[in-house]
Amino acid sequence: MTVPMKILIADDSRVMRQIVTRTLRQAGYDDHDVIEAADGRQAFDAVVNENPDLVLSDWNMPEMTGIEVLRMLRANGVEVPFGFVTSEGTAEMRNTAEEAGAIFLITKPFTAEAFRDALDPILG
């Protein structure tokens, strides 16, 4: 029995937050609690206030981009595991994400298998 974790899904698209939630279930992570943020500012506040165990964040969001959220979290000493789920997967963005402290970058469209590959080391 796995210990339930709290996962923050940050994406300005409600449709995409729903897809990410559904894919988590399909990948077998259905025992975990999911909380949501609809922009970068909400995501930062949710991490600070709700202390999730993992953040799955879009890159391109209103208020603050995902990379700005990650940098601000790290600048404030918050070391929550943070991964991107984004439609853009260029080498430049992967490098930028890694340098800022992201542990993975999943590109849209994604499959449950892609989620398992990225998340098993953290949630498995």
């Binding site: 300005d12 449709v15 609809a38 209103p62 439609s87 853009e88 260029t90 590109t107």
Partner: protein
């Protein structure tokens, strides 16, 4: 016009088929069917822009029926439950995913905009509210100005 490589034959279809296989046609029963030519349907129009080493726009246009099907499939809900907001969000996200994948094939560095969606000629910016507007006319023809502020989504 920005100089640079153009998309290879089949790139757009490959991206689109991947999206259908991942989100819209999981069992492979109703795939996207490419046609050699077709009259575009313009009920719903979503676009994202790329600026940087490559500059351009990626547009998705479709009928309202197609847009509602996309929204229903992405959200996993019945068509009867699909709202106008769902349509705007879903087709905007479709443009965002295709746009992000196209951007990845183009010269770097560049930045992708948030999606802009038009439904029946009405512009819609997901996650934005009107904070100012002005309507008037000049020489008997209507002109309108709107200021939209990006905002957090209020409802979940």
């Amino acid at each position: 016009m920005t100089a640079g490589p153009i998309l290879a034959d089949g790139d757009l279809l490959a991206i689109t088929e991947q999206i259908w296989a991942s989100y819209l046609d999981l069992d492979g029963a109703s795939p996207f069917v490419p046609l050699s030519s077709a009259e575009p349907a313009l009920d719903v129009h979503a676009s994202v822009s790329v600026t940087g080493a490559w500059r351009g726009h990626i547009l998705v246009t479709c009928s309202m029926g197609a847009a509602r099907n996309v929204a229903g499939a992405l959200l996993g809900i019945d068509l009867d439950d699909v709202t106008p907001e769902d349509v705007s969000d879903a087709v905007g996200e479709l443009a965002n995913i295709i746009g992000g994948n196209v951007k990845s094939l183009m010269p770097e560095p560049s930045a992708l905009s948030l999606p802009v969606v038009l439904v029946d000629g009405n512009v819609g910016f997901p996650s934005a509210i009107e904070v100012g507007s002005l309507v008037g006319e000049w020489l008997g023809e209507p002109i309108a100005v709107q200021v939209l502020e990006s905002t957090a989504e209020k409802d979940k």
